[in-house]
């Protein structure tokens, strides 16, 4: 079977949706030449009225997408750099997200925000290395973080078809992934539905985005000692709480690995919900970036602040030892 790369999966999803629905258009910076490798071929195929290179005016083109969406378009807005979301946070969290409620349902804003490389790329330093998905889950913007090429395809398709703003984070640590699959099996993946990558009986590891691969590697390392289930929520908001509860019914123990800063990160929310509402036989643990982390430039310093396999392994062993 052919190999599908993560970026190619995003590209195929964009092309398929643009082909299917003439209201789908793409905005971004340098997308005509596909500088981030996601919009390759789209300008030639769909023309400059639907693939629109924007000036470096992230705030304006994010709200431009809102106005177009209110008028019937389904724009996809590409941001090359995750920190641009801080610049456009007002336009997403305070404008696009709020129109439906504020107008009593008169206006919907079906925009997809696409981050083809979020999180650390190692060496991109303080303002290019954030992974701010927890912020969007907190304010209630539908937030997805696909780990695999097939999920990247399926979740981007669902995001584009959704009638609300949806933000799609492609983790930098996952976009190099390739998956051996039959392209005919590519299909929409519903928002809000998690996925068990590896079944287990003793501990559930909730892994987000690229950390799914780390969780699977650690589960392999521990296979002779501890039976680890790897649960990938895929969508952080709305979260698949029922899926998590089902996993914890089987394992009773929980570790979360989350590339957010610790305080108010989604990992904390997952632990709190499990503690309040689900079956746990031992206190849970989470592995995250430190509180308030800003990634420093030097490779050793950058890596020192990201969740590691060693930390995850230690957390799993500690949780299993506790009960």
């Amino acid at each position: 079977m052919p190999l599908l790369s993560y970026l190619r999966a995003l590209n195929r999803a964009l092309a398929a949706e643009m082909d299917r629905d003439p209201a789908v258009c793409v905005f971004g910076e340098d997308i005509g030449i596909a500088v981030s490798n996601v919009t390759t071929g789209l300008l030639k195929r769909f023309g400059p009225d639907r693939v629109i290179d924007m000036p470096i005016s992230e705030q304006a083109f994010t709200s431009f997408a809102t106005g177009a969406a209110m008028s019937g378009a389904r724009p996809v807005v590409e941001f090359q750099i995750p920190a641009l979301l801080f610049l456009a946070f007002e336009q997403i969290a305070n404008q696009a997200h709020k129109f439906s409620l504020m107008t009593g349902g008169q206006l919907n804003v079906p925009v997809t925000y696409l981050l083809p490389s979020s999180g650390s790329r190692v060496g991109w330093a303080g303002q290019h290395s954030d992974h701010p998905y927890s912020l969007f889950a907190h304010v209630g913007v539908k937030t997805v973080v696909p780990a695999t090429p097939a999920d990247a395809y399926g979740l981007l398709v669902s995001a584009i078809r959704d009638n609300d703003p949806v933000i799609v984070f492609g983790p930098a640590g996952a976009v190099g992934q390739r998956e051996d699959l039959d392209f005919g099996t590519l299909a929409p993946v519903p928002l809000g539905l998690g996925r068990v990558h590896r079944p287990g009986t003793e501990v559930t590891v909730v892994a987000i985005g690229h950390l799914v691969y780390d969780a699977l590697a650690v589960a392999d390392e521990l296979a002779d000692m501890i039976s680890v289930e790897v649960f990938d929520p895929r969508t952080l908001y709305p979260f698949d709480w029922a899926g998590l509860a089902g996993s914890l019914e089987r394992t009773g123990r929980l570790v979360v690995i989350d590339d957010s800063n610790r305080s108010c990160g989604i990992g904390g929310e997952i632990l709190a919900t499990a503690a309040e509402e689900m079956h746990l036989t031992a206190p849970p643990k989470r592995v995250t970036r430190p509180d308030g982390a800003v990634l420093p430039f030097a490779r050793e310093l950058d890596l020192a602040l990201q969740p590691t396999r060693g930390q995850l392994r230690a957390a799993i062993e500690a949780v299993v030892k506790r009960g």
Partner: protein
């Protein structure tokens, strides 16, 4: 285009609506206060009269005038301000977000300058879809120092979009005078992006209508955006909290001097006295009925406080668990 009588009816309606709304703020029926449009009525009336019914507007925190002039039902606007289920937004928007999409109002925005880029995007897509729509976006002089506003001017001019930028220059960004906030000129900003500009008497509904009609015709002909600076003066408070706080950023003498050019009187003088009296009585009657409608309307059920948050689900979790 509206005749003198129609324009008078609109400015008078807005004036009396705002007076009624202020009464209801004072009596506690309207929570959160309002930003009265009193003194600036000629701009909403003149611009909206120059638009076609299918054309669109975006509004501001001081938006009642725009919404009424574009054709929203005054009773449902008042019910919205009073937080009733029968309001335009089912009580979910209030004074700062009152909107009626069925008459082309794409939201009233409480963040200064935030609507301009939304208006540009709406104009772009309607043109893409082959629909003849002009979008007028209202904002105050305070907005001309917002980055996203300037970015929107660039985008609109770059793509020659059918947008009319309507700057309601009342001389104050809340309490700050223009000379203390704004380097250069208002129109100079738009000119720098190659946009056609005009400065008009924002106290005269007919002058505003003429300028807006010219801008709309240009936009419809594919000649791109226009920028109207409408010189006006806010006779009342920035927000009704001023009645309690009483900030002193201008003198009573200054306000009294400005009131000598009242848009309602300027337009009223163009209407025969008998007709004017009849219109006034009709408007008072209309607003009394609006008041009765709002009073009689149910308050929303708290169980539906998150209704409309998403287009088609999901419902978020509740704030507490039992």
């Amino acid at each position: 285009m509206a005749d003198s009588v129609e324009l008078y009816r609109t400015v008078r309606l807005i004036r009396r609506f705002e007076e009624k709304a202020i009464e209801l703020v004072r009596s506690g029926v309207i929570a959160g206060g309002i930003h009265p449009y009193i003194g600036e009525e000629a701009i909403a009336a003149g611009v909206c009269a120059a638009l076609a019914p299918d054309d669109l507007i975006t509004s501001t925190h001081r938006g009642h005038g725009h919404v009424l002039a574009k054709g929203a039902d005054p009773a449902r606007v008042l019910a919205e301000l009073a937080g009733r289920e029968t309001g335009l937004n089912h009580g979910r928007g209030g004074s700062m977000h009152a909107a009626d999409v069925s008459v082309g109002i794409y939201g009233a925005n409480a963040i200064v300058g935030a609507s301009a880029a939304i208006a540009a995007g709406a104009a772009w897509w309607h043109r893409q879809a082959g629909r003849d729509r002009v979008v007028a976006t209202f904002f105050g002089d305070g907005a001309v120092n917002q980055g996203v506003m300037l970015e929107a001017l660039n985008l609109a001019s770059l793509r020659q979009l059918p947008v009319i930028f309507v700057c309601e220059n009342n001389g104050f960004a809340t309490s700050m005078r223009m000379r203390d906030t704004t380097a250069g000129t208002v129109t100079g900003r738009a000119e720098a992006f190659g946009i056609s500009v005009a400065t008009v008497d924002g106290m005269d509904p007919e002058a505003v209508q003429t300028a807006a009609a010219g801008a709309a015709a240009r936009a419809r002909a594919g000649e791109g955006p226009a920028f109207l600076e409408c010189l006006t003066y806010r006779f009342d408070a920035h927000h009704t909290w001023e009645y309690a706080v009483r900030p002193r950023y201008r003198t009573d003498e200054e306000v009294d001097a400005a009131r000598r050019r009242d848009p309602v009187e300027i337009q009223g003088a163009r209407v025969p006295a008998v007709l004017r009296a009849r219109i006034d009585a009709e408007i008072d009657d209309l607003l009394e009925k609006a008041r009765t409608f709002a009073d009689a309307s149910a308050e929303p059920d708290p169980a539906g406080a998150l209704d409309y948050l998403y287009a088609d689900g999901p419902r978020g979790r509740a704030g507490v668990t039992t």
